[in-house]
């Protein structure tokens, strides 16, 4: 029974962590972000299953995590007010080639990081960006000027 509780607590804890570390860490896979993802995965596994090596344990932990995921996405879909809490909200970073410094700072994003993301989208200058939006997934979407 406790493995179900452990899995549920692990899910809620990871959800909390992903919401509080900020989307900068979610969208990028810089070395430090990789460390966090890999180490966290291992720690969570140990905390959830501990010394349980059974297939039943796998089914219980995996099933609970899947159900929690479905429940969270259903709540987000069904209740609009919960979306900012569960998924976050997009934030505009660039408007008409103009950097919105306050919004960048809020997400701990530097101009260099934004320019690098723009280059990955075949945009060589922020001046050519009509809109840049940090999406809830942590990725930055660029809409170039026509």
């Amino acid at each position: 029974m406790d493995i179900v509780f452990r899995a549920a607590i692990a899910f809620l804890f990871i959800l909390l962590l992903t919401r509080i570390v900020g989307r900068r860490e979610l969208g990028s896979l810089e070395p430090f972000d990789l460390i966090m993802l890999i180490v966290l995965g291992d720690l969570v596994q140990q905390g959830v299953t501990q010394s349980d090596y059974s297939v039943t344990g796998l089914l219980l932990a995996g099933g609970t995590l899947a159900l929690m995921q479905v429940a969270a996405s259903y709540l987000s879909f069904r209740f609009r007010r919960l979306r900012p809490v569960l998924d976050g909200e997009p934030i505009v970073l660039v408007e008409d080639g103009r950097l919105l410094e306050r919004n960048l700072g809020r997400e701990r994003l530097t101009t260099e990081e934004l320019a690098a993301q723009a280059r990955l989208n075949q945009i060589d200058s922020i001046d050519k960006v009509r809109w840049a939006v940090l999406e809830t997934s942590g990725r930055i979407s660029f809409i170039p000027k026509q």
Binding site: D2, R6, L16, L17, R19, I20, G22, Q50, S51, D52, E89, P90, I91, V92, E95, D96, L100, R102, N103, R106, R130, W131, V133, I143, K145
Partner: protein
Amino acid sequence: MADTPDGIVLRRHRDLVGRRWHPWVRRFLLGLVAAVSLLALLNVFGQWPSTATVAVSAATLEIRSPPAVRGGLLFQARYTVRASRALKAATLVLGRGWLDGLTVNTIEPSPLNEASRDGRLSLELGHIPAGEKHVLYIQYQVNPTTVGSHAQTVALYDGDERLLVHERKLRVYP
């Protein structure tokens, strides 16, 4: 001004109207996570051992064991009996809190005899000459499903004569 992309509301997503306080929620929650780590550094969640000493005219008992542990952890309890006078049949009696939900891996040195004394574990250490000491080590592992607070009573007997009793608590975090 450029046309706004679908789903973007400038007041909310560019000017952050109604969202100014959101970073404070994030900082508060981060503070909570940091507070838990700080409490762990202060040994709230185990497993640094603490030492308790109980002395009577016949003997002194020193117990060194962590007051808090977490599920699955290995830990050690050390019981040191110092005899002020010769103890003919020194016996340590451990309450249920030393055994419930814990796995005893080893007891060294092995006691001369193990028995149940009114539901408690009685470990006969044998003769301890005056001025000498007997050190008993028990290696434990916390069963993963064990949680909560457990009363750990230790009593030292010489034969049927009870010399001293010590009460302590073990907190087990999930």
